[in-house]
């Protein structure tokens, strides 16, 4: 089996807090190849961001602790790598963009300065050379009048423009992997589409592997190649994008799809999955989803369902996936 670009293998992460141990990630595995887009879908608290932060190595440890698993980048385990080596990879080969561009950018430095910093730190360039590169990058992410705006500050830009600046910073050194953590959640719908288009174009041009973290099914459809659905720190279903939408095999996925309002359901009551996501400090026994699952049985409370293969490249963690696929 050829090596994947990025291989998250059975990762376990917990947070030790005053109120107890929160099991944030429980045996998560996914892979990413060059040019591929993996969408990680889930609600708040599902562990999708924590996984990304663990890959980047920016998790707060303590209170976070990695208690198991490996993260292989080009075959080498990031978790056992010395920090100095990891720092070289961070930002230069694996880059990340965040949801709230206003708070994610440093308010007291110009945008040019912040982009140029990448070149200064990783490539040893001078400030002037870095700024020139910054202008170039800002043009690549389609910011108009880049030369004039390179000395402006983050708060002088609109939300969409700021997000482009973050993207420019992230792709500046031609990373192999780009992790986008809810990049469009804070933006208007029209701007959302522009940003997603931009990301898709950049990915294609540079053959980057992209991990798109989101809770929005609509954003995922046009962009992702494959999807991993996360719930309470586990991947409950993973499939190619078309298979997931057409033949979901996990009750949670089914619930998510059902709760999307559709044009032809006019006049009917909107469906919502009953209940709330569980507290990570006290996960329900057995299958974490069981308190909210319409298909729930005795077995679900007693045993943790293993990840079963539903079809080719399609797995689901449910004992009764056949019922879900049928219904």
């Amino acid at each position: 089996m050829s090596e994947h670009l990025l291989d998250v293998d059975d990762l376990y992460v917990e947070f030790r807090t005053r109120d107890g141990v929160a099991e944030a990630i429980n045996g998560v595995s996914y892979t990413l190849d060059a040019g591929e887009t993996l969408a990680v879908l889930g609600e708040s608290g599902s562990g999708k961001s924590v996984t990304a932060q663990t890959i980047m190595g920016i998790l707060d440890m303590p209170p976070g602790f990695i208690t198991g698993g490996r993260i292989l980048y080009n075959g080498k385990d990031l978790l056992t790598m010395p920090e100095s080596e990891r720092q070289k990879i961070r930002g230069a080969e694996i880059a990340m963009i965040f949801q709230d561009s206003l708070s994610a950018l440093n308010p007291v430095f110009t945008v040019g300065d912040q982009i140029a910093e990448m070149f200064q730190v990783h490539r040893g360039m001078s400030k002037k050379e870095g700024m020139a590169k910054a202008v170039d990058l800002m043009e690549q992410v389609r910011i108009p009048a880049a030369k004039d705006r390179v000395k402006d500050y983050p708060h002088q830009f609109s939300g969409g423009m700021r997000q482009r600046i973050m993207i420019a910073m992230a792709i500046s050194l031609d990373p192999k992997v780009l992790i986008a953590d809810e990049p469009t959640t804070a933006l208007d719908v029209t701007v959302q589409a522009q940003i997603m288009d931009l990301l898709k174009d950049l990915q294609r041009e540079r053959n980057m592997g992209m991990i798109l973290i989101t809770h929005d099914l609509g954003v995922v459809a046009g962009v992702a190649d494959k999807i991993a659905v996360m719930y309470a720190g586990r991947i409950v279903e993973s499939a190619n994008v078309w298979d997931l939408y057409a033949k979901p095999a996990h009750p949670y996925t089914q619930g998510l799809l059902d709760s999307m309002p559709r044009v032809d359901s006019k006049g009917e009551e909107l469906y919502a999955i009953k209940g709330l996501p569980p507290s990570l400090l006290a996960l329900p026994p057995g299958c974490n989803f069981n308190p909210r699952c319409p298909h729930r049985r005795e077995r679900c409370v007693r045993e943790v369902p293993p990840t079963e293969e539903v079809a080719e490249n399609h797995t689901a963690a449910c004992f009764f996936w056949k019922e879900v696929a049928r219904g």
Binding site: I58, G91, S103, N106, P107, M118, H122, H155, M169
Partner: protein, 308 residues
């Protein structure tokens, strides 16, 4: 940036006028006889009173009085003490020493205060953090003059490391102990403020971004976090300057420094009304000026303010 400066300058003018008016009113316009206690322990002779009334325009209405006073001020005439010397000459003679004292104090305040704050924030919850927290709390609680006496007693008299009082030359070495005392309160506040700010900024989103850019921890903290944390500290140092001025009075009194503070201290004790008003006015003007400079500096280092 220029417009911002001019705006601030213009805003300052009514404040200066208002403040000096209030000072003036407090001294000369309060009900009661303004000459009580101004000639030592004896009541002032009638001729003297008449002369002073004329000189200080006390027979005019308050606004006119004040107007004449302001006019005099602008010409550099701060009046005369009852002993005959001009207040202005007394001030200019005393100023250099206080300036040196204040300068050393501010340097101490900034260097030690910020360093302590950074250390505490980086060591959150640890030994250094707690030590700095407790120490600063104690320093804040003990009034400046108590610290002054303590320092004078311990380091000046008992240990003899520094001279307990400052001689007429007021060399830098002699001024170190009083400068430390003067800086102590502000230092404690600066350390706490820096600690709080840095601790908060270290949890900020942009620090996470900076880390994910692959910057070294030192660069993330030293360049990104500290820069943001310094901003409120700078404003504080400006605002706190007033307390520094107040503290100077006490410190100079204890260490027998013949600076502005000492001048004020002496004039208070001998009830030299004109000198008191003159010195306080000068100090207030300096305070307002420093605030203005700090405001401008703030605009220079925090780009968000400049463009509002």
């Amino acid at each position: 940036m220029g417009r911002y400066t001019i705006r601030r300058l213009l805003q300052m003018i009514p404040v200066v006028i208002g403040t000096t008016f209030i000072i003036y009113a407090m001294v000369w316009a309060l009900p009661g006889d303004p000459f009580v206690g101004k000639c030592g322990d004896r009541p002032c002779p009638a001729s003297y009173i008449a002369e002073m009334r004329a000189k200080f325009n006390l027979d005019d209405s308050l606004p006119v009085q004040y107007g004449k006073y302001l006019w005099n001020l602008l010409q550099g005439n701060f009046g005369e003490s009852f002993s005959g010397r001009t207040v202005w000459s007394e001030i200019t003679q005393a100023f250099p020493v206080t300036f040196r004292l204040a300068l050393i104090a501010i340097i101490i305040e900034i260097v030690i205060g910020i360093t302590a704050g950074v250390l505490a924030a980086l060591n959150r919850g640890g030994f250094w953090d707690n030590l700095i927290l407790v120490t600063t709390l104690i320093v804040i609680s003990i009034p400046v003059f108590v610290i002054g006496f303590l320092a004078q007693f311990t380091f000046g008299i008992k240990l003899g490391w520094f001279p307990p009082t400052v001689g007429p030359n007021a060399t830098v070495y002699e001024l170190i102990l009083p400068a430390f005392v003067l800086a102590s309160l502000s230092l404690a506040y600066v350390a706490r403020l820096m600690r709080g700010n840095l601790a908060e900024n270290l949890r900020a989103d942009y620090v996470r971004t900076a880390t994910s850019k692959g910057l070294s921890r030192r660069r993330v903290i030293g360049r990104h976090a500290v820069r943001n944390s310094l901003i409120p500290v700078v404003t504080f140092i400006g605002a706190d300057f007033g307390a520094l001025l107040g503290g100077a009075i006490v410190t100079e009194g204890i260490f027998n420094i013949r600076g502005i503070g000492g001048l004020l201290y002496l004039s208070i004790r001998t009830r030299e009304g004109a000198t008191v008003v003159g010195v306080v006015t000068v100090l207030v003007l300096v305070f307002l000026l420093v605030n203005l400079l700090v405001d401008i500096l703030y605009g220079a280092i925090d780009p968000r303010i400049r463009y509002e």
